[in-house]
Amino acid sequence: MSGLNEEQVMLRDAAKAWVDDKSPVAALRRLRDQGSQTGFDPAAWREMGEMGWTGVVIPEAYGGSEFGYRSLGLILEETGRTLTASPLLSTALIAASALNLGGTAAQKEAWLPKIAAAEIVAGLAVDEHPHHDPARTALAATREGDGFRLDGAKTFVAEGLAADLLIVAARTSGEPGEASGLTLFLVEGAADGLVRRRLQLIDSRGAADLAFTGVRVPAEAVLGEVDRGFDLLETVLDRARAGLAAEMIGTATQAFETTLDYLKNRTQFGQAIGAFQALQHRAAKMFTEIEMARSCVYAALDAIDANANDVRALASLAKAKACDTLHLVSNEMVQMHGGIGMTDAHDAGLYLKRARVAEALYGSASWHRDRYATLLGF
C-alpha cells in the first residue's frame, strides 16, 4: 500500500483495528438473527461518528476533517472486509456529497454538522424500478404555493427506513427517460404523506420502499437547481459508486483471503487442496482480478479528490470492475469451501448475499459497461 499520507495510514489502521474488534462478521449475523429493522447497530454508528469517519468528506467549517474521498474509501474498504452494516456510505459519503456539491449555505449549515457528528442518518432515494436508471425518474414534484408536493414511489433505498433526511430525485418537468427536468429535494424522514416499508433483503441491511402521497416541501428544500438536477445527481452518484466499489473491494479481498486460508488448511487426498494446480490457477486469476479492480477504485477516488475531468468514466470503471470481481470471488468462495460453504453457519453465504445487493446498487456491471462505452463514444 502506498501513495497514502500519514493521516490516511492512521485512518486505515484505526479502521482495521476497529472492525476486527467491534465489527467482525459475527456482528452482521447478530443483527440479522435479532431481526434488526434498520439493519445497523446504533452504538457502532455512534462510534464511527466519534472516530471522525462521518466527517471525512465534510469541510472543517461544518465539523468535518475534509480528508477526502480516498480516505473515506480506505475506511469503507475495511468495513467491507467484515460486511459491517452501517449508514456510513449513505450518510457520510452520499448525502454529505450531495449537500457539499449542491447545497446552499443554509442547507449545509443545517445538515452537514449533524452528519459529521453522526447525529442523523441520511439516504438517497433515486430508483423506482428493479434496474438502476436515474433518468427514468417519474416521481412527480408539482409546484404548490411557494413549495412543491411530491407524489410517487421509490424503491431499494439504502437506509431508507432509518433515514432522518432523504435526498429525493423527482421530476419537475419532462418525461421519464429524459435527463432534463429532474430536481433533487431534501425531505425529512418524518414528513407527512411519506410511508416507508422495510425491505428484507438477502444482505440483511437496512433498505426500504418509499411511497410519497402529497408530501409537501418548501422551496428551500430544493437541492441545486430546479429541472437541472440530473448532473448533480450523477455527480453524487459517481461518488456513491466509487465509495461502494471501495467497500466491495474490501469485501472481495476478505472473501478471497478467507478462501485462501481454507485452501491452505483443508486437506483431501492427503494434501492441502491449495496444492491442486487447477485451484491454484483459479486463485491466481482471482488475485489478478482483485488487484486490477483495486487500481480502478483507487484511481476513481483519487480523481474525485483531484476534481479531474474523467470522474464519470472512472466511477463506472470502478463500479463495473468491483461488481465483476466480487461476483467471481463470492461464487468461488462458496465453491472452494465445498459443502461447508453452503451452510448458513459459514460466512461464505453472507459474502455471497451482500455481493449481489452491492452489485445491483447504483448500477450493475452491465449498466456501467454501457455507460462507459457511451462516454468513450462508441
Binding site: D127, H129, P130, H131, H132, T155, F156, R197, R198, L199, Q200, L201, I202, D203, S204, D209, T267, Q268, F269, G270, F276, Q277, A278, L279, N331, V334, Q335, G338, G339, G341, M342, T343, D344, A345, A348, G349, L352, K353, R356, V357, A360, S364, S366, W367, R369, D370
Partner: protein, 395 residues
C-alpha cells in the same frame, strides 16, 4: 411389438381406472411423495396412488417380482413411463431406496437381504438415507473415519456423517464405515441400519438458502447386527462407487430443478423491458442468448447421449460431461435470472417481493450446491480428463 402395444393398452386402462383425479392439480414442494414411516400425506389420494403402484411393483418397474418389483422388461418399463408422462401423472414415490440402494442390493446383497429390504422400498414403507460424507471426507470420500468395531454378533458404530440428505426424515440408513484402520479403500464396509437405533442422532443443517435438506448425523455406540452388512467385510468401497454411479445417473437424468419454473427470457422481458423488440439491456440480452444456446446444446446433448448409448449398448462419451455441464448451466441460469430481476431478485422475505420472486432467489442460492453435491465439478473434470481423455495422474 404387438405384445408391447397390448401392454400399452393394459397400462392405459389401468391408469384410467387407478390414477386419482385429485392428483391432476400441480404438486407443491411439501407434497413430494418420499414415503416412509414419518410421511404426512396432505392428500390421501397420493397415498392411495402409492399403494396402487406399489402393489403392482410399478414404483420399481424392472426389479424382479420376487422382491416386490414390477418384473417388466426395459421396453415395457419405457412404455409405462411414456404412459405416465402422457397423463402427466405425479410420481407415486420418490426414493433413494429405488434410485440408489435397490440397484446395489440387487447386485451385492444376499438372497435374505433382498427379500427383507427390497419389498418395503418398492411399497414406499421405508425411507432410506445415505451415510457417505464426513466432515473430513468430502471429495476424498475414502478417507472416512466412522468406525465399526467387530463385537461378535454385531458391529459397534461410532463416528459422524455430514450432508446426510433428509436423515431426520429417513427410517433407515445405508452407511459406509471403517472396519479396518490400516488400509484406506480396502478398510471400508457397507452396512444398513435403522435410524431409530439407540445412539443415532440427526441434526438438520441450515443452508444459505434457508432450507435444511441435509443433516449432520452422529453415531454413538450404535449396535448393528452383522446380517446387515452388505457384501464382504472391507469390501464396501466397490459397492460405494457403484452406488455413486446410480446417484450421478439420477442427478444427470433429472438435471437440476428448483426455482419458480420461469423462463429466463420471459423474466428478463418483464423486469428489463423491450426496446424495438429487443431486451432493453443489450449486454444482458447477449448473455442471455448465449446461455439459452448453451441450455439448448445441453438438452440436445442429453438426448444424443441417450440415443448413442442405446445404439452402442454402452455409455456415449457425451455422458461423462453431463453432470458437470448440468451444474454449470443451472448456476448460470439462476445468476442470469437474478440479474434480470434486478432489485426484485434480492429479497429474502416479507413485503415488497412476490412469492415467486422469493422462490427464485432461494433457488439461486440453492443452485450453488449443484457443483458440490454428488461429486464436485472439480472431481468431475478430473474424471473426464483421466477416464475419458486418458490423461495421466500427476506423479
Amino acid at each position: 411389438m404387438a405384445d408391447l402395444e397390448t401392454f400399452r393398452a393394459e397400462v392405459r386402462d389401468w391408469l384410467a381406472a387407478n390414477y386419482p383425479a385429485s392428483l391432476n392439480a400441480p404438486m407443491s414442494e411439501d407434497e413430494a411423495p418420499w414415503g416412509g414411516r414419518k410421511m404426512v400425506w396432505k392428500n390421501p389420494d397420493a397415498k392411495l396412488w402409492l399403494e396402487r403402484m406399489g402393489a403392482r411393483g410399478w414404483t420399481a418397474p424392472t426389479w424382479p417380482k420376487d422382491y416386490g418389483g414390477g418384473g417388466l422388461s426395459a421396453e415395457e418399463a419405457r412404455v409405462l413411463s411414456q404412459e405416465l408422462a402422457r397423463i402427466h401423472a405425479r410420481p407415486a414415490l420418490m426414493s433413494f431406496g429405488i434410485w440408489m440402494l435397490g440397484p446395489v442390493l440387487l447386485e451385492y446383497a444376499t438372497e435374505d437381504q433382498k427379500r427383507r429390504f427390497l419389498p418395503p422400498i418398492v411399497r414406499g414403507e421405508i425411507r432410506w438415507c445415505q451415510g457417505y460424507s464426513e466432515p473430513g471426507a468430502g471429495s476424498d470420500l475414502a478417507s472416512l473415519q466412522t468406525r465399526a468395531e467387530d463385537r461378535g454378533d454385531h458391529f459397534l458404530i461410532n463416528g459422524q456423517k455430514v450432508w446426510t440428505s433428509y436423515a431426520d426424515q429417513a427410517d433407515w440408513i445405508f452407511c459406509l464405515v471403517r472396519t479396518d484402520t490400516t488400509k484406506k479403500h480396502e478398510g471400508i464396509s457397507f452396512v444398513l441400519f435403522d435410524m431409530t437405533s439407540p445412539g443415532v442422532e440427526a441434526r438438520p443443517i441450515k443452508l444459505i438458502s434457508g432450507s435444511s435438506p441435509f443433516c449432520e448425523t452422529f453415531f454413538d455406540n450404535v449396535k448393528v447386527p452383522k446380517d446387515q452388512l452388505v457384501g464382504k467385510l472391507n469390501g464396501g468401497w466397490e459397492i460405494a462407487k457403484r452406488l455413486l454411479q446410480y446417484e450421478r445417473q439420477n442427478i444427470s437424468a433429472g438435471g437440476f430443478g428448483g426455482g419458480a419454473g420461469l423462463e429466463l427470457e420471459e423474466v428478463a422481458k418483464g423486469y428489463v423491458g423491450l426496446r424495438a423488440g429487443k431486451l432493453a439491456d443489450a449486454d444482458l440480452r447477449a448473455r442471455i442468448a448465449a446461455h439459452k444456446m448453451d441450455a439448448k446444446a445441453f438438452a440436445l446433448t442429453v438426448r444424443r447421449a441417450e440415443t448413442e448409448s442405446k445404439a452402442a449398448k454402452g455409455p456415449s462419451p457425451a455422458v461423462s460431461i453431463i453432470k458437470y455441464a448440468a451444474a454449470s448451466l443451472n448456476q448460470a441460469k439462476h445468476e442470469l435470472m437474478l440479474e434480470a430481476m434486478g432489485t426484485k431478485g434480492l429479497g429474502w422475505d416479507g413485503e415488497g417481493f412476490a412469492p415467486e420472486e422469493i422462490r427464485e432467489t432461494r433457488a439461486w442460492l440453492r443452485s450453488k450446491g449443484n457443483s458440490i453435491e454428488g461429486g464436485t465439478s472439480e472431481v468431475n473434470l478430473n474424471v473426464i480428463a483421466k477416464r475419458v481423455l486418458g490423461l495421466l495422474d500427476h506423479q
